[in-house]
């Protein structure tokens, strides 16, 4: 892609993809409309960490567009700024400079509390290390997201997600009693239970063997297709990146063209 620099944040976006919608549809991927409102848009995104007295730039001007319903893989070497990008898009940390629009909300102008509220309702995270709460069962880990969201337990949504991810018989198990693949499926269930607009996955297959990696990727793909779930996935794994609609390469804090 082909991320053209944005001229005006908040305007309607012309998405230019190297391929036509027919080509993508033929591949079974989400075709993009020609003129749509992107669900994620960044312009000149920079993030600088202060380490002692030294400024360490993690992102050096990232311009990115992601359409609703897209499954995007973000690839790049370690330390290139992928995770920082994910954290900013998830509202976990603010950018140093630049604009971030997520579902029409400008993160750079929002307070920490507003970003937290936004994240609660619109963002789901999947982590490499699963990050399940060890003292809770799988069921409670999933229900926790609904509890935090504050809309109460939705049994229909819960059942649909649990069945889609095939973890019904694991619901009463605590994380230590689950395999890595099962833990990651529970983590995915937790990420999508509140119907977030965007799922941000940080190396979701990084701790899994090939078989489990494939299963997790298939589930992410299925969620993307079944629910038009927008997914942004960081990965080192080329096979994992192939599952996505498109791939974004990051190096030295920049997005580089294919």
């Amino acid at each position: 892609m082909n991320n053209k620099p944005l001229s005006i944040i908040g305007a309607r976006w012309s998405v230019v993809d190297g391929r036509g919608g027919g080509e993508m549809a033929a591949e079974g991927r989400s075709p993009l409309t020609s003129v749509v409102e992107p669900i994620i848009a960044t312009q000149g995104l920079r993030k600088v960490y202060r380490v002692g007295r030294v400024d360490v730039p993690a992102l050096r001007g990232v311009d990115l567009l992601v359409q609703e319903g897209e499954f995007v893989a973000v690839v790049g070497p370690s330390g290139c700024g992928k995770s920082t990008l994910l954290h900013i898009l998830g509202g976990l940390t603010p950018p140093t400079t630049g604009k971030v629009l997520v579902d029409g909300n400008d993160f750079s102008a929002m307070s920490d509390a507003d970003r937290t509220r936004f994240r609660r309702h619109k963002i789901g995270f999947v982590f490499q290390r699963f990050n399940l709460l060890p003292t809770l069962t799988a069921r409670d880990n999933i229900a926790l997201a609904q509890h935090i969201q504050g809309n109460g337990f939705n049994p229909h949504r819960f059942d649909a997600v649990v069945d889609t991810l095939g973890i019904r018989d694991k619901l009463n198990h605590r994380p230590y009693a689950l395999s890595g693949g099962e833990q990651q499926r529970v983590a995915i269930a937790r990420a999508v239970i509140c119907e977030p607009k965007i799922v941000l996955a940080d190396e979701p297959t990084g701790n899994l063997d090939t078989e489990n990696s494939r299963a997790v990727l298939n589930m992410l793909r299925a969620l993307n297709r079944s629910f038009r779930q927008t997914i942004l996935m960081i990965t080192h794994n080329p096979e994992a990146a192939d599952v996505a609609d498109r791939r974004i390469r990051v190096r030295d804090g920049h997005i580089i063209p294919d």
Partner: protein
């Protein structure tokens, strides 16, 4: 939880033992059966602090007051050997007229100057038997009898003996006056005031109302200090344990933040957890207090532990307040954690 249980138990027992000590002393004086007591000018209602400057012959004048049925002089002497006790030096015939007489568990009344009567609780606590020798006021006494507790002191020796031992011949510390009818107490008090205007004359009813820990400044300060120490211990333990917990659970807090948990939500769960631990600690403290009371009374029968109903609530409230204060800062720190740093915490 254990710290809260100890805090609650400590508060309950300190207050209970203090109240028990004071109430037991007051009840025993009430148990003498007198209606009025006459003490020398400037004396304290704390008996052990009073010297003995009143002539015993004053009893005869008091007995002449209308509606006075009986008068008995008593000499108080604090004894430190074998524990802190106030020994009553009594004139047994007149003491029996006021009290209605001792109920003897074993033995007989005084038969010799160096005979001593002890009450059953003292005998049980000190494994004392009739015929045994007790060292009191640096002299050996023979235990001539064991009497039912509740009539003033736990140790009684003849009035003349105690006067001789302390060099106050024909002197008494107090006169217990029994009225012919309790309805005449005010009249008798007024008459005694008229006869002895500088003396300290109290009805037993007034004395009982004065005998509370609140009226004993040093005791009140002691209780307050002990409660403060208990609350401070609870606060510090909760503070340190919650702070440690927050550090150990940094990553979990990061997970909650990634799920969109607000600062208030995170503070809420930490304070709720502390509150739950506190509640369990309070229940444990209550149970520990009841067990400790039984152990104390079994081991030290002369002690009295009086668990005051309102202090069940106060101990719980103090523990809860200490817990919430101790947990607030760690909870606040947890809520302020940077989610990215928290998620990266190993």
């Amino acid at each position: 939880m254990l710290a809260i249980a100890i805090e609650v138990g400590m508060v309950m027992l300190v207050v209970g033992m203090t109240h028990g000590l004071v109430d037991d002393a007051a009840r025993r004086v009430e148990g003498v059966g007198a209606d009025v007591m006459v003490q020398p000018p400037g004396s304290s209602f704390m008996f052990g602090l009073t010297s003995a400057p009143m002539p015993v012959k004053l009893a005869d004048r008091l007995a002449e007051i209308p509606r006075v049925q009986a008068v008995t002089p008593v000499f108080f002497q604090t004894n430190l050997s074998g524990g802190l006790n106030v020994i009553y030096g009594v004139d047994l015939p007149s003491f029996d007229r006021v009290t209605g007489g001792f109920a003897y568990h074993a033995g007989l009344p005084f038969a010799a100057p160096y005979d001593v009567l002890v009450d059953d609780l003292y005998a049980r606590a000190n494994h004392v038997k009739v015929g045994q020798t007790l060292n009191l006021l640096n002299h050996d006494f023979r235990v001539c009898g064991i009497v039912e507790h509740g009539k003033g002191s736990r140790i009684f020796i003849p009035l003349e003996t105690i006067q001789e031992l302390v060099g106050s011949r024909d002197k008494a510390t107090i006169f217990f006056v029994k009225c012919s009818d309790p309805g005449y107490v005010d009249d008798v008090v007024a008459a005694i005031h008229q006869m002895l205007p500088k003396h300290n004359v109290l009805s037993i009813r007034e004395y009982m109302s004065l005998m509370t820990s609140n009226n004993l400044p040093a005791l009140d300060a002691f209780v307050t200090a002990m409660i403060s120490v208990a609350v401070a211990i609870g606060f510090l333990v909760i503070f340190l344990s919650m702070y440690t917990t927050i550090t150990e659970r940094t990553r979990e807090i990061g997970i909650l933040k990634s799920l969109g948990a607000s600062k208030r939500y995170i503070m809420g769960i930490i304070l709720r957890e502390a509150g739950l631990l506190c509640a369990l600690g309070i229940v444990g403290g209550y149970a520990g207090t009841l067990i400790a009371k039984r152990v104390i009374l079994k081991s030290f029968p002369t002690l009295s532990v009086e668990l005051i109903p309102e202090w069940w609530l106060w101990a719980a409230l103090l523990a809860l307040a200490g817990t919430l204060m101790g947990a607030s800062y760690p909870a606040f720190q947890a809520a302020r954690l940077d989610p990215v740093d928290a998620l990266a915490y190993e």
